[in-house]
């Protein structure tokens, strides 16, 4: 851990978070803190609630009618489920990258500028062009697409599309970026590029990543949270989790005995 011994600031925190889909409980009371400018990995077998938890952090679960969230979730100490909090503003601060690359069926340029335009982040066309270049550079995509910014984003390769989605997310200058298995639809080379990118993004953004790949969690994250059947089994520094877990279930999972 690069010798960072001082305790980092807590960016997002959950206290006693419970999530229900109808009558079925998906998360059974979780306390989890996410530190600023760190990558926090959520791991665990399928159906353990890690994606559900991630989607609570920008209230994407609101779009599911039967989904109910209980408990306290905060961003910089503010309750994000407070009625006074605008969900649109929250999502502008907590961006998201999805499992399957989902660029809009529009040009690369429009993909990036859509967020800044609806949030009024740019005053002129020139401002937008600056944002486009900055975001694409930030996502390591600029050199590959600078000559075809007005071609459709859906024409890129899978890995490029995912980086376009990351660029689109950082174009609205969020504080936190949530990534829901961002590499599961990518080949190993594209995965390596995206992982490297995550390492760079950590300098500016707080990142929470859900992953199925233990190696990926070990490679990109500083902290790892292990979920199982809706419970948080344990959370600790990634190094500790992978070398010296305190729970047997974590040990079993990372050594491949179940999952």
């Amino acid at each position: 851990m690069d010798g960072e011994t001082e305790t980092p600031k807590v960016k997002m925190a959950g206290k006693g978070v419970e999530v229900f889909y109808g009558s079925k409980q998906a998360i059974n009371g979780i306390d989890l803190e996410v530190y600023e400018r760190q990558v926090t990995a959520l791991i665990g077998p399928s159906g353990c609630g890690k994606s559900t938890y991630l989607r609570c952090l920008n209230r994407m679960n609101d779009t599911i009618d039967i989904c109910k969230v209980k408990g306290l979730l905060t961003l910089d100490g503010e309750d994000i489920y407070d009625p006074n909090i605008d969900v649109v503003e929250l999502r502008a601060r907590v961006g998201m990258v999805f499992q399957k690359p989902n660029p809009f069926p529009k040009s690369i340029h429009e993909n990036i500028t859509y967020g800044p335009r609806i949030h009024g982040l740019a005053k002129s066309k020139a401002d937008l062009d600056v944002i486009v270049e900055k975001s694409l550079r930030g996502a390591g995509l600029w050199e590959e697409v600078k000559d075809r910014l007005h071609e459709p984003g859906t024409g890129l390769s899978g890995g490029q599309q995912q980086r376009l989605c990351i660029a689109r997310a950082i174009a609205v200058q969020p504080e936190v970026i949530l990534m829901d298995e961002p590499c599961s639809a990518l080949d190993p080379i594209a995965t390596a590029i995206v992982e490297e990118l995550i390492g760079e993004l950590r300098e500016q953004y707080t990142i929470v990543i859900v992953t199925h790949s233990m190696q990926q969690a070990a490679r990109v994250s500083q902290r790892t949270a292990m979920f199982h059947l809706g419970d948080l089994v344990e959370v600790d520094d990634t190094e500790t989790i992978f070398t010296n877990p305190s729970e047997k279930r974590t040990q079993d999972y990372i050594t491949g005995r179940f999952g």
Partner: protein, 437 residues
């Protein structure tokens, strides 16, 4: 024989098990044959329909006319020179006499020859009156001038030339007599009688004389109705679909609404006619036979089609697009209007055009709101009496004259052409704007 038994043994070896392949392929071939048979069956009847309609109707696009040198003789039209005081004079003048005089001259008939003039008079359509009147009224300079005009021949002449009458029947039982046939032949020989493109079919309104009857009023009525259907049912249908699909909570009430919309699509169209009669005419007091009422009734009928098509188009937009927009902080409304709706637009458009085509071909509800009317003048506004293309076909199909048979088929050709254009547009739009993810 030993060889054969050896081969048999090999065939019976485990890797050549009998797994019913022959039967399976036979079933597949049989099914393909049935499919081809069904398609051939359908194509045969389509071809039969088109052939029947076109072979009966193509002659309607030609109408026999007679070329005459008509003199607008003031002594016939306005012998006492009172047209300045009495504006009705020019409207009521004896115009047919002018055309008849010109025809006598052409055929060399003595004006005193009662039988000859009577036979010749019957060759000219009664529509010549309106034609000559309109010419003189729009251009009063023509008074006492001689003008070369094509006037319509009578419907019987047209039918005789198109072979719709059996001329071997005894003269006394024919609508067209032998001496008239001689005159026709004479006119044909010097090129003064021929079939000309029938513009009147597209511009004229209702008429009891087949040669001057046209679908003009019906086309205007249908166009008004299509416009009204588009203006009312597209926005209402799309708004309802967007709300139901994207915003409404999924509960019992919305389920009931959904089921009822699907049921409405299956309600017989004549029921919508009754509804329109009760609501728009009896309750709201809108005029009968008006294309406004027809359009509103057809809108009611088209709404479920548009709603179902729009909801299907919205459902077909992948959820990942919505997630992407929401994920960067677009509001629900922005997500729908910036991303979902544009992607659903081709499907909505296709559904709308198909709904409109359905409405264009609808007859039954229009009968109930009085659009089955004999309308001569072109409707200036949607509040004026009008008919519709399919209703015009229905009315002509009830006429007795032979000449209306070809006009009925001609009107069907026109209606089918409109429908084909609309459906081709729908296919084109779908192909052009269809997106893949």
């Amino acid at each position: 024989m030993a060889d054969t038994s050896l081969t048999d043994n090999n065939v019976a070896a485990p890797r050549h098990r009998d797994i019913g392949l022959k039967k399976r392929y036979a079933a597949e071939r049989r099914f393909q044959f049935y499919g081809k048979l069904a398609i051939a069956f359908g194509l045969f009847f389509l071809a039969l329909l088109l052939w029947t309609v076109v072979s009966k109707g193509y002659t309607a696009f030609q109408q026999t006319s007679i070329n005459l040198d008509v003199t607008f003789d003031e002594s016939v039209i306005d012998p006492k020179n009172e047209r300045n005081e009495n504006p009705m004079k020019l409207l009521t003048a004896n115009y047919p006499k002018l055309a008849e005089a010109a025809l006598y001259e052409k055929l060399g008939i003595d004006a005193e020859d009662k039988a000859g003039t009577k036979a010749a008079d019957a060759l000219i359509s009664k529509g010549a009156r309106a034609q000559l009147r309109d010419m003189l009224i729009s251009n009063p300079e023509l008074m006492n001038q001689t003008v070369n005009v094509w006037v319509l021949a009578a419907g019987e002449v047209d039918s005789a030339i198109k072979g719709q009458f059996d001329l071997s029947v005894d003269e006394s039982r024919r609508k067209i007599k032998d001496n008239q046939l001689e005159m026709i032949e004479k006119l044909q020989q010097d090129g003064s009688l021929e079939g000309r493109f029938n513009t009147g079919l597209f511009t004229n309104g209702g008429s009891s004389r087949p040669e001057t009857a046209g679908v003009g009023v019906a086309i205007i009525g249908s166009a008004y109705m299509m416009l009204i259907v588009l203006l009312t049912s597209l926005p209402i249908g799309v708004a309802a679909s967007i709300y139901l699909e994207e915003f409404a909570p999924k509960n019992r009430l919305t389920d009931i609404i959904e089921v009822n919309i699907n049921n409405l699509a299956a309600v017989p169209s004549i029921v919508y006619g009754l509804l329109g009669l009760a609501v728009f005419i009896n309750f709201a007091g809108l005029p009968r036979s008006a294309s406004l009422v027809g359009g509103l009734v057809l809108s009611l009928m088209t709404l479920p089609t548009i709603i179902i098509a729009t909801r299907a188009a919205l459902k077909a937009v992948p959820p990942s697009i919505r997630a992407a927009a929401l994920g960067i902080g677009a509001s629900k409304n922005q997500t729908v209007f910036h991303h979902v709706l544009p992607l659903a637009a081709p499907g909505i458009l296709t559904g709308t055009i198909i709904g409109l085509a359905q409405a264009l071909g609808e007859t039954a509800p229009l009968l109930l709101i009085g659009m089955v009317a004999f309308v001569v003048d072109a409707p200036a506004t949607p509040l004026d009496p009008a008919t519709a293309l399919p209703v015009q076909i229905f009315m002509w199909a009830n006429e007795a004259e032979r000449a209306f048979v070809e006009r009925t088929s001609g009107a069907i050709i026109i209606l089918l052409a409109f429908l084909a254009v609309m459906n081709i547009t729908a296919i084109f739009l779908r192909r052009r704007f269809e997106r893949r993810w």
